[in-house]
């Protein structure tokens, strides 16, 4: 038995799902950082007024 295709499929799935998950975490972190900055600016503006 060789089943090279099955091994490739399994490892592609492993690295694929790990990369997609890491990408979604990075995107969520980036969105939240932007939101923090936006809220801080809003608060600063509020304090000045």
């Amino acid at each position: 038995m060789n089943h090279f295709g099955s091994v490739v499929a399994a490892y592609m799935f492993i690295w694929g799902i790990l990369m997609v998950y890491q990408f979604t975490v990075s995107r969520r972190v980036s969105n939240l950082r932007q939101e923090v900055e936006r809220l801080k600016e809003t608060l600063e503006r509020g304090k000045r007024n």
């Binding site: 799935f13 972190v29 939101e35 923090v36 809003t42």
Partner: protein
């Protein structure tokens, strides 16, 4: 917040390099260093990451259990962040285990899936922790959300020992543990498997750490929103 991010960047970069090196070495071990298994041949190389993912999945759900118990005892949000982070990461490894298993099973057993105790309890585990995340989305109040999900998490954890011991307790299509048994894995194969498990465990810790940071950032956003709302109300008076 900016200072906190800068402080985190260096340790995160170092951790990423160490984990990447460990994963690289594990791949080298699985494909080059480990001998080819006599019966299954090249196909057996799926084992090193499939079985290791299953073990790491159980470890991640143990972290969830610690987080759930910690929250119920101390009522501090940090425990809830830890549990939620563990659920997401555990689900990633649970999915890997559920998908790579059938890819291996079809050529090895001739079937994609069998509803035996090990496979069924692993699938139930996946359903339970998906439900955990869905449940969290239904509750808006952060404290109520944390309590309900902690209680549900403790209940869901009951399936973890069932998954682990199912191959001892019942006759299953899934093979029994061959790791420490004579006639099981060769010493080289065992070393590669244990190293793959260490590499994926390190990756799991890093993923939970990153996901925990995300949860703490989400908490900061919630606090800033409340502050902004309070300021707006004060301005309107």
């Amino acid at each position: 917040m900016a200072t906190e991010t800068k402080n985190d960047a260096a340790p995160q970069a170092v951790a990423s390099i160490i984990v990447a090196a460990m994963i690289g070495a594990a791949i080298y071990g699985a494909f080059i260093w480990a001998p080819t298994e006599k019966t299954m041949g090249f196909l057996q190389r799926i084992f090193y990451f499939h079985a290791a993912s299953g073990e790491v999945m159980l470890l991640a759900f143990c972290v969830v259990f610690i987080g759930n118990i910690g929250y119920l005892m101390r009522r501090k949000p940090e425990w809830d962040w830890l549990a939620t982070s563990g659920v997401e990461v555990g689900l990633v490894f649970n999915t890997i285990s559920l998908v790579t298993g059938p890819i291996w099973a079809k050529p090895a057993w001739g079937i994609w899936w069998d509803w035996d105790a090990r496979l069924t309890s692993t699938f139930v585990l996946w359903i339970l922790y998906i439900s955990y995340l869905l449940l969290r989305r239904l509750i808006e109040n952060p404290e109520k959300r944390a309590v309900v999900s902690a209680v549900f998490g403790v209940f869901a954890f009951l399936d973890v020992p069932l998954v682990y011991f199912s191959i001892w307790w019942w006759r299953t299509q899934h093979p029994p543990p061959l790791i420490f048994k004579s006639g099981g894995l060769s010493p080289e194969m065992l070393k590669v498997f244990l190293f793959s498990m260490a590499a994926l465990s390190a990756l799991m810790v890093m993923m939970i750490w990153r996901r925990y940071k995300l949860e703490s950032l989400r908490h900061s956003v919630e606090e800033l929103r409340i502050e902004a709302e309070y300021q707006n109300e004060g301005g309107a008076k």
